[in-house]
């Protein structure tokens, strides 16, 4: 597969993930609430998409590849990476969720670097299928990357898209499931035990599917690098909601809350200890 990075460096990937988590943490101090834990659970996934997979345009324009974050509430990680790439500005992020700003809690199509409006779950994958069809129809080799939450795989509409992507043999789709095992009312494995094993379901629907540790950048990189490209590719990524800050990990209230000053200080100390 043609990827942005032909050579993977685990130390650089780890440093980036910590930097992005820290930037999100700083943003959290300007707002009363944000989806911090859901962004932390997919930090390594979205980092890999932008910094390892999506190819730069030789002319300096848009990448020939596309990223659509289907779990729109995780877009904080997208925002900080877009800032890192110079597509969003510091001002854009500083004005997050303010009347003068352009960025909200869910990604809005039309903002720099945002390829679709998501936030309502179960919409992203069908749009990904349409984008992948358009790439094929235009005889372009663009790959469409997406990240879904595990909760949104419960949406019937997601399965409509899963069925179509493999029926159409859309080998230009690479999807990740941020399988952090949490949704609003509890652990998915407890509320919906029949949901598992997830991987078998995608295999049954004709997707090339792998399971990885969603916080292991090397595993993510290797999985995508070695995909066949003949069918849509699903990475079931085992993740931890709130990954990186001990008191947030697997604690539901951090789905949508900002740390107070003391919590912020502790989180900063923990993240710095990881670098």
């Amino acid at each position: 597969m043609h990827l942005r990075n032909s050579k993977f460096d685990p130390a650089i990937a780890k440093a980036r993930a910590t930097k992005y988590r820290r930037r999100i943490l700083d943003m959290s101090q300007h707002v009363s609430a944000l989806h911090i834990a859901g962004a932390y659970s997919c930090t390594e996934l979205v980092d890999a998409i932008y910094n390892e997979f999506m190819r730069p345009d030789p002319g300096g324009g848009k990448s020939p590849d596309t990223f659509l974050i289907s779990k729109g509430h995780g877009c904080m990680i997208q925002y900080v990476i877009l800032e890192d790439h110079g597509i969003l500005s510091k001002k854009d992020l500083d004005e997050y969720c303010t009347p003068q700003g352009i960025l909200g809690t869910h990604p809005d199509y039309g903002n720099p670097g945002i390829e679709a409006s998501t936030g309502s779950l179960g919409h992203g994958l069908s749009m990904v299928v349409g984008m992948a069809l358009a790439e094929r129809g235009s005889k372009r080799d663009g790959v469409i990357y997406t990240v879904l939450s595990d909760g949104e795989v419960q949406e019937g509409s997601t399965w409509e898209a899963i069925l179509m992507a493999s029926s159409l043999k859309l080998g230009n789709i690479v999807a990740f499931i941020d399988n952090n095992d949490f949704q609003s009312l509890g652990r998915t494995s407890e509320t919906h035990p029949s949901f598992y094993p997830l991987t078998d379901k995608f295999v049954a629907f004709g997707w090339e599917t792998v399971e990885v540790d969603g916080h292991d950048p090397k595993a993510i990189y290797e999985a995508v690098k070695n995909r066949s490209g003949t069918r849509p590719f699903m990475v079931v990524a085992k993740t931890t909601k709130g990954k990186g800050v001990s008191y947030m990990e697997n604690v539901p209230m951090w789905h949508y809350r900002s740390p107070n000053k003391a919590e912020y200080a502790q989180a900063v100390a923990e993240l710095e200890a990881q670098t």
Partner: protein, 303 residues
């Protein structure tokens, strides 16, 4: 209308490789065979999966394509409503959602196959445009326009088969403008969609009674031609609205709003479907009659 839709779409597709047709296990007849044979990569059948029909059309449009999503009206608009609202309306994408067999054309299939409130529902979505042609020729004009426009989403409300041609002597079709199929001075009938055939019969009868009658196709239901309707209200002694739609959010409601806003003084009679599901069967005319809409009943009330 299905056939002229597919013929017009095929012609546009031969000229524009960005035109895609996404269907949900229902395909227009006529020229669609040519479309699917010549452009198989641009004909996507998602199966009985209307949410993905809209989402896939949105994804195509996000990459610069000009997609049409096509199935029976209830399934193209109601089932995937949130996809129509978010993916198409919120993102303002030039996707045409074709509602075929709209209104109560599927008269023996029961309420699950009726769209009595589709104009109200589609019309409530910001950015959505609504076009409801009155005959196969107008359907051709509307389809061509949908294939070329880049404003945003369109709900194209069409009939099924066998609609008579009503526009032979009409002025040219123009998006957003009401269209006089006949011009008179006493009575003006405002209508849209398939029921225009019944409105034409009412116009014929009123003409026989010695009245000078205008018959107007309000084919663009959003944005509605407020200026054109205001002029019709001001220039006729009597205005009659006939629609195959619930009283809320349709042509009757719009016309009353415009009449109020412009202090119209004409007599105004409106004929809409009732705010009630239809549990009886029979022909299209039988169902309309059950809701008080027939040539005879209209004539009795407007006399």
């Amino acid at each position: 209308m299905r056939n002229t839709f597919s013929e017009a779409l095929y012609e546009e597709a031969t000229k524009n490789s960005d035109i895609y047709l996404v269907v949900a296990d229902i395909s227009p007849a006529g020229s669609m065979a040519k479309f699917t044979t010549q452009y198989p990569e641009r004909f996507i059948n998602v199966g009985v999966a209307e949410q993905s029909m809209i989402g896939i059309a949105a994804g195509l449009a996000l990459k610069g394509k000009q997609p049409f999503a096509y199935t029976i009206a209830t399934f193209s608009l109601y089932r995937p409503f949130e996809m129509v609202r978010d993916d198409l309306g919120y993102q303002n994408l030039p996707v045409t959602v074709v509602g075929m067999g709209a209104g109560i054309i599927y008269s023996t299939l029961g309420g699950t196959h009726h769209t009595q409130e589709d104009i109200a529902i589609a019309g409530a979505i910001p950015n959505m445009q609504i076009v409801a042609p009155c005959d196969p020729t107008e359907c051709t004009d509307a389809t061509r326009w949908c294939a070329r426009q880049k404003n945003g989403p369109v709900y194209l409300r069409i009939g099924k088969a066998g609609e008579p041609i009503l526009t032979q002597t009409a002025e040219p079709w123009e998006f957003g403008k009401i269209r006089y199929l006949r011009r008179g001075t006493d009575v003006c009938i405002l209508t849209f969609g398939v029921i225009t055939r019944m409105a034409a019969q009412v116009a014929d009868e009123l003409t026989k009674q010695g009245k000078s009658v205008s018959l107007v196709s309000v084919h663009t239901m959003k944005p509605i031609d407020r200026v054109g309707i205001a002029k019709a209200l001001a220039s006729h002694k009597q205005v009659i609205v006939i629609e195959e739609h619930a009283p809320q959010g349709g042509l009757a409601a719009h016309t009353k709003q415009i009449a109020w806003d412009t202090k119209a003084t004409c007599r105004l009679d409106t004929f809409s479907l009732q705010d009630a599901f239809i549990h009886n069967y029979g022909s299209w005319e039988d169902l309309l009659d059950a809701h008080g809409i027939s040539v005879k009943k209209i004539l009795a009330k407007v006399a």
